[in-house]
């Protein structure tokens, strides 16, 4: 078992990759097979990921040398505590593929079904590969796989505005990828290596030169676009709102988090706290941007009537929380940044679950009614109680009302902000969550407490294949909040190792 589990970090990527490559072939035999095949592949990958995670927490990080070449000569796949996000990715992937079976009949042409599943598998493959790699250029390659499949998934429907939203995303995404590639190129010339750990070592050996700083800026800009930070968030609302709902769930829940993971890798694995490049001005700037992002996202969400548009803007706001959390660090005292880091990282997980719930619920509503405007969805709560109940739980969760899962990050980030004396960050966060709640209550009001414009007929509860993922995720929103120590047990070592502390670090202890 131990022998086998060592291969898991790479096997889970390969499974998705080969599964995706085989999907068109499989669907040639029977059209319906593509769904079962995608389910099988994602479950297999989830299984491998579970093995890898199990090994991580029993044996410590896994370093896997592709082709057997030791780094920096070959490519290293490194399954460390940050990589646990793959557990979330593959798990959520399974649920979303399951959900898609019925849903895509509604929005996608029948002959594109197998392409849809192929793209979803490729998207998952890109994200998983991105999160476990220990090599800079490999990071870029997987980033491209996931970006390309993300663009295409938005434009897979025949709706009029989708191609435009996708193109906007593509242009900004391509520029950001290029900016990241340029950063890699500069950094390669400074250090002469592509392996992240080796790069970090070599950066310490040479005196810092301007190039390293410029590379850092390029990286941060590039990943900010992927994460949809203010002011480069403009692609997000259209793209996430117009995509088919399960795709929105993937994009909002996971794909934008990839930008965050990238930032973490660059800042804390490559440049490193306490090294000879002080990037605190950059993180401070990011913190400010994050505060603005929180407020801007929440503010614009307020004026939307389209339910998915609201969720999309709230994603922007939530990315602000995460970035704020991970930017609250001190260069010389790593342990000071611990609380903020925990807050940011935990919200990567929680937001993914909450936002997926929201988008899947929205999808179920759209599937059953064909409406996406709040004013048209009035009174749906009585017709689709389970979907709307889940939607309500997720709404409360994302507003950070305890004891739901959205609250935890609020608590930690506020503590982190106080630790640094940046009370105004905490204030921005709180104002943001209040605004968030204001528009989520609008949704809840509309579906439960307002009379429908015209009597609703012929609308009943969503089919089982949609309800099961929704209910599981909604339960997740509650359980991860009440039993917060479970996700925290996973996150704490991640936060500690990112900051260069021992993985068993406990603040004050």
């Amino acid at each position: 078992m131990l022998e086998f589990s060592q291969h898991c970090p790479v096997l889970m990527t390969i499974t998705l990759l080969v599964g995706a490559a085989l999907t068109p072939i499989v669907s040639r035999f029977r059209k319906k097979l593509s769904f079962l095949w995608a389910m099988f592949i994602s479950l297999l990958s989830f299984f491998f990921c579970s093995c890898a995670t199990w090994r991580l927490y029993s044996e410590g990080p896994i370093s896997y040398w592709l082709s057997g070449w030791e780094p920096p000569y070959g490519i290293e796949v490194r399954f460390d505590y940050v990589s646990t996000i793959t557990f979330l990715m593959t798990g959520l992937g399974v649920l979303i593929i399951f959900y898609s079976r019925k849903y895509i009949e509604h929005e996608i042409n029948e002959d594109k079904f197998s392409l849809y599943y192929t793209l979803v598998l490729l998207l998952l493959c890109g994200m998983v590969g991105f999160s476990v790699t220990g090599d800079m250029f490999n990071l870029y390659v997987f980033l491209e796989i996931l970006s390309l499949s993300g663009y295409a998934l938005i434009a897979i429907t025949e709706e009029k505005l989708n191609a435009m939203a996708s193109f906007k995303y593509l242009v900004m995404g391509a520029i950001s990828s290029l900016s990241i590639l340029a950063g890699i190129a500069l950094l390669y010339n400074v250090t002469g290596t592509l392996n992240m750990a080796d790069m970090a070592l070599r950066l310490q050996q040479f005196p810092p030169i301007l190039t390293s700083y410029v590379a850092l800026v390029l990286f941060v800009v590039g990943f900010s676009v992927k994460a949809a930070m203010f002011p480069v968030h403009i692609w997000l609302p259209d793209a996430h709102a117009l995509a088919p709902s399960p795709v929105s769930a993937l994009l909002s829940g996971l794909v934008i988090k990839v930008g965050i993971v990238g930032m973490i890798r660059i800042l804390y694995t490559v440049y490193r706290l306490g090294g000879n490049i002080n990037f605190i001005p950059v993180t401070n700037f990011m913190g400010w941007l994050a505060a603005i992002t929180i407020l801007i996202g929440a503010f614009f969400a307020f004026f939307q009537d389209d339910i998915k548009m609201i969720f999309a803007y709230s994603s922007i706001s939530n990315i602000g929380y995460i970035v704020m959390g991970i930017s609250l660090v001190s260069f010389t005292q790593p342990e000071k940044g611990y609380l903020g880091m925990v807050g940011g990282l935990i919200h990567i997980f929680n937001h993914a679950i909450i936002k997926s719930t929201l988008f899947l619920c929205a999808g179920a509503l759209i599937y059953k009614t064909g409406f996406r405007k709040l004013s048209d969805l009035r009174g749906m709560g009585k017709k689709m109680p389970i979907t709307c109940g889940a939607l309500t739980i997720a709404s409360i969760s994302i507003a950070g009302i305890p004891p739901t899962s959205g609250f935890i990050c609020k608590w930690y980030i506020i503590l982190g902000a106080i630790e640094f004396g940046k009370w105004y960050f905490a204030a921005a966060l709180l104002i943001g969550t209040l605004l968030v709640f204001a528009y989520y209550i609008k949704i809840v009001n509309a579906i439960f407490f307002r009379e429908p414009n015209e009597p609703i007929t012929k609308v009943d509860e969503a089919p089982m294949s949609m309800l099961i993922p929704i209910v599981l995720l909604a339960i997740g929103c509650l359980v991860l909040g009440v039993f917060a120590y479970l996700p925290l047990a996973v996150i704490r070592p991640a936060a500690a190792t990112i900051l260069g502390l021992p993985s068993t670090y406990i603040p004050g202890g």
Binding site: H7, A21, S67, G68, F137, S149, Y188, I209
Partner: protein, 244 residues
């Protein structure tokens, strides 16, 4: 006004970028960190460890084989993306704009293409198979293969192109790149080695080198055929228009 601001901002960016690059060691120096750190081992040992005289090929297939696997997947992804956006062509429903306009191709073009086609394909195959010894390899050959598909179809008409390169074969060949990588890479797992290892100590010593060549060849051919088919299919998907 707006344009002025943009140009000014871009100028500032230019200054920043140029400042960043000229802070690097002078170009062409052999004392750079990049040239002294990882490279020496590649230059000295690649032929022995990687088994290809072309060091670049050795790196992309062996030392950084995982990257290349990703890259092959990127091409495959591009195809799936294009198909997801535009849809597959269908021999019954689709034709091309050129065919619709019914402009007759000159006989000279047709005969030249007919004459050259076998040589182009031969050249492509040569590039694919000799990637280990000379410049070139799977991608380059694949691109040429794909280009020859395009040239053929443009000359002899879209419908004939669809007939000559039928969908049912292309669907399978498109996946050749990732699959060949997988097949070559997964063998090592059965020997208890890491993924993508080609040198397999669990088989007879005499055949090890042969097996390695074979595995690399599978990959090269897979990339070449896969890449060529993908380019061809992208072309078909983009060029097609609805009949009537």
């Amino acid at each position: 006004m707006k344009k002025g601001v943009i140009i000014f901002a871009l100028f500032l960016l230019w200054v920043l970028l140029v400042a960043a690059v000229i802070a690097l060691p002078p170009m062409g120096s052999s004392e750079t960190p990049a040239y002294t750190h990882v490279v020496p081992r590649y230059l000295e040992k690649e032929v022995e460890e990687g088994g290809a005289n072309n060091i670049v090929t050795g790196i992309i297939l062996n030392y950084r084989g995982y990257d290349t696997m990703g890259e092959v997947t990127v091409i495959f992804t591009a195809l799936i993306c294009v198909l997801a956006v535009l849809g597959r062509e269908n021999i019954k429903r689709h034709t091309s704009k050129v065919e619709l306009s019914s402009v007759e191709k000159s006989v000279i073009v047709k005969s030249v293409v007919r004459l050259l086609a076998p040589f182009i394909i031969l050249f492509a195959l040569y590039i694919i198979l000799h990637g280990a010894e000379s410049p070139g390899g799977g991608f380059q050959g694949g691109a040429i293969l794909g280009a020859s598909v395009i040239v053929f179809t443009l000359t002899f008409g879209f419908t004939l192109g669809m007939k000559k390169f039928p969908l049912k074969y292309r669907t399978i060949l498109e996946s050749a790149g990732p699959l060949s990588f997988f097949i070559s890479g997964v063998v090592a797992l059965f020997c208890g080695l890491n993924f993508l290892t080609y040198m397999l100590p669990c088989i007879n010593h005499a055949y090890q080198d042969l097996v390695r060549h074979l595995l690399l060849l599978i990959i090269e051919i897979g990339i070449g055929i896969g890449g060529g088919t993908v380019i061809g299919s992208i072309f078909f998907a983009m060029e097609k228009v609805e009949k009537e």
